[in-house]
Symmetry: C2
Subunit: 502 residues, 2 copies
């Protein structure tokens, strides 16, 4: 809206149409001042537009995930509470005027999830403890060595320990668990050791620093765990379930779209479908977040359905297994977009087989998602669906075997005798090039089903490691199992029928 | 070694074999003390083993990338220099005893690369400035509102601004550029605003904090840029070139291995080949590091061949394009490992075509790597190689078209009349199932060549944006071009010949 209005205003006073139809630029009476005013106006409206866009984006961030807003309020709350230390005389004096360290601790250790906050708190306290003791020791040695040598002893120790701590942060196993602790170690060590040269009551300084940091950390832990806590582990768990569903939707959607491709339905529906098809891309790009969540998850105490030693690492294996499926879906997508169009005959011939494989595969993935989500073993359903998938793959392979009679050998130059024989026996015929996209698609589908079997194993391993329960109500369980399988079959049959209609 | 020795010792004194051949547990004379000693010994040797493993790992980190060791020394050096502030009375007094902020700044802003350090320095200074001014303002308002209301005004402002700053860190566009600045803003604002309640000379405090932070930041920038600087941009540039070479090696290696598969050569050679084949996985997993390098690269001043506004974002596009090729190589790999073995006849028929496509494709990638590496346009070579690739793809498609006469229609049940006619005309024959893996491989190869064309476009876009030079020596250039193309062709021909020998 804003830019259009601006342009319109500009046109209105700059151009004057003369009687003969020609136009000329208007030299404004007020000259420079007006120009400057307009420039300023343009700048301001441009800036206002940018601000409005930014506010919109920020608003979207907030409305898409209201927990982010809650996180912000939690940070503000924790900081406001810790400020009380400043305002209340006894508390302030209790830590010798060093209450500021508590405020700083809250600012730097407060993270969106419980796990990340615990990681930072633990590292900060541990790093401060170690560095504090070491620095007091170094200071004692330095002070014994005489006033002239003292700065050199302190300087050398700072140099050596800072180098060593920095180096430790570059070792992957240390980095994943103690990166922040090493930073705080360096910070506290330099702080206390160097201060020793000027501050008299060094031990008291170290003591105050440690106690304020413990106060700040405890406050953070209380606020993060009591006010709408967000658990890294729970997030990872939900992410894996969500990604499984997306994977299933993509797989299903890609293959269905390929064999329909008539493009029925409204635009908005198509857009929604497109979003579904692109779901596998989330799986491709979630490695880094999965890893950090699993890392922070291991810091979290028992919460909800998860014990303290929940096998978060296994989720990473499931994630990797899902990514290997997603790579194949990416290749599948390229088949679908290929310029080399498949013959309708071949599509019809392999369509139902491919759709059966894709829908039974995605049913297996959805069932796995359900298993992970509910944390209940439902092995019989999974097994049945996996069997269903295997038989669908077998069916597709049989379909592939019966293709040759559809091929047109006339495409081969210098094979005329054969052509005469075959063209009589088999009508209609297709060339091999029209076959390639569908065969490629079918063989990638078969590969995907193989990778899904690996995913089933990974989820079973998780169920074993995390000791998933078994549905107590046996009759309900078997009923549910039957229902799930028959639902899945019904869905597949529906797709088949729809295909035949097209 | 250690655990085995322990077990042996245990056996030696615990079991005594009696005359009748039965064994019984020995009750040791020294009892508990000996047990404890052995337990302790086991613990110590286990710990020693762990320490040795850790030291080995650390040593590997250092030897694999000596620049990491240099980085550690740089951190130590910067900290030792900044400690001088403490030891020299005039400097110490100059910042009112707040020299500690300079030390802390060095610890937290010193990063391995120039870009990351500049990002942190800039953010720290900016955040401190903004927060300092705002906090002094809020303090003035609070102090005007009376002693009773003051804590509430300060508390409310801390709550509001901390919430707002935290929220801004959750907006992606702010996060990528100003995440650290927002954190420092919160830190400084709470620090100065809350201190206002107890500290009299607030303006001086803010002033000292800002000047010490500027001193610390300047020192960091000097050390990071003068002592063996590591530039994020240069790192990104090298990473992209390295990944291109890996991609080319993987593509070449996969296809060659598939059509050889006889497994000649020594084990060590095979291992080296395996490493080469897995190179594409580096491409798959380098998205996050590419993004952070590009982000930090944009903070860096002109260095080496790179200007200040070098188009680092374009490298991300090249990276994405490479990843889309790598997804296909992953699918290719699955074809190669497929249980469904292809017939030898078909392998021979399509082998030379596939190898031509793979080697011409990898030649294009290697040439692109060379273009990016030297930052010189050599469009004629690239064009020639791309043409070569296209004609190889055309050849492979023609090979695919001539397949049908190799097919065995006898695989189709109930097609006996045709079988008789065809089996006479075409010998030898293969079933379609034996064809599927090779056809899939061929069509994925064709897809890869399409994606490489997109990669060529992305690199050309980079050459345009970054204004790559043209090789000055024209005769040398054309000579080089010819040489490159003929080298590439020679390599392809060599592979072909080797294949025929197998």
């Amino acid at each position: 809206m804003a830019p259009r209005k601006e342009v319109f205003e500009g046109v209105e006073w700059r151009i004057r149409v003369a009687a003969d139809g020609s136009s000329e630029a208007l030299v404004p009476a007020t000259g420079l001042a007006r120009k400057a005013w307009l420039g300023l106006k343009g700048l301001i409206s441009g800036f206002a537009l940018k601000v409005r866009m930014f506010v919109k984006k920020a608003w979207d961030v907030g409305t898409n995930d209201p927990r982010k807003v809650i996180h912000c309020i939690k940070v503000g709350l924790a900081l406001a509470i810790v400020s009380v230390f400043y305002f209340m005389r006894p508390l302030y004096d209790g830590v010798g005027g060093n209450a500021m360290w508590a405020v700083m601790t809250v600012v730097v250790v407060f993270e969106p999830t419980v796990g990340a906050t615990l990681y930072k708190c633990f590292n900060r306290v541990l790093g401060t403890f170690l560095a504090g003791f070491l620095a007091v020791g170094v200071h004692w040695v330095a002070s014994q060595s005489g006033e002239r040598v003292e700065p050199f002893v302190v300087g050398a120790s700072v140099f050596l320990l800072a180098s060593a701590a920095t180096f430790s942060r570059l070792i992957p196993s240390v980095k994943s668990r103690f990166d922040y602790g090493a930073l705080i170690f360096m910070l506290t060590f330099s702080f206390v050791a160097v201060s020793g040269y000027r501050v008299d009551k060094l031990f008291e300084l170290a003591h105050h620093r440690i106690s304020t940091i413990i106060i700040g950390s405890s406050l953070c832990i209380l606020v993060i765990m009591l006010v709408c806590p967000i658990w890294s582990g729970q997030e990872l768990h939900s992410l894996i379930v969500r990604n499984m569903d997306k994977l299933a939707d993509s797989l299903d959607g890609c293959v269905t779209q390929y064999f329909y491709q008539s493009g029925e339905g409204t635009n908005s529906k198509e857009e929604a479908t497109d979003n579904k098809l692109q779901g596998y891309k989330c799986v491709l790009s979630s490695k880094a977040s999965e890893e950090s969540m699993a890392n922070f998850g291991s810091w979290e105490p028992s919460h909800g359905q998860f014990n303290f030693r929940h096998p978060w690492k296994q989720y990473l294996k499931i994630g990797a297994s899902m990514r290997s499926c997603a790579y194949c879906i990416e290749a599948l997508n390229s088949c679908i977009k290929s310029e080399n169009q498949a013959a309708k005959l071949i599509k019809q011939h392999l369509g139902s087989g491919c759709l059966k494989v894709s829908s039974s595969s995605s049913n297996v993935i959805r069932e796995l998602a359900e298993t992970v989500k509910t944390m209940k073993k439902k092995s019989s359903t999974t097994d049945l669906l996996a069997e269903d998938m295997k038989s669908a793959v077998q069916g597709l392979q049989n379909d592939l075997k019966t293709i040759p009679h559809l091929l047109n050998p006339s495409a081969i130059p210098g094979n005329k005798t054969l052509e005469t024989a075959c063209s009589e026996a088999t009508t209609p015929t297709v060339t091999l090039m029209e076959l390639v996209p569908v065969v490629t698609l079918a063989s990638i589908l078969i590969e995907i089903s193989g990778r899904i079997e690996a995913l089933v194993d990974a989820v079973e391993e998780l169920a074993k490691l995390a000791d998933f329960g078994i549905n107590d109500d046996k009759s309900k369980h078997s009923k549910m199992t039957d229902k799930t399988v028959s639902d899945a079959k019904k869905q597949t049959d529906g797709t088949m029928k729809a295909l035949q209609r097209v």
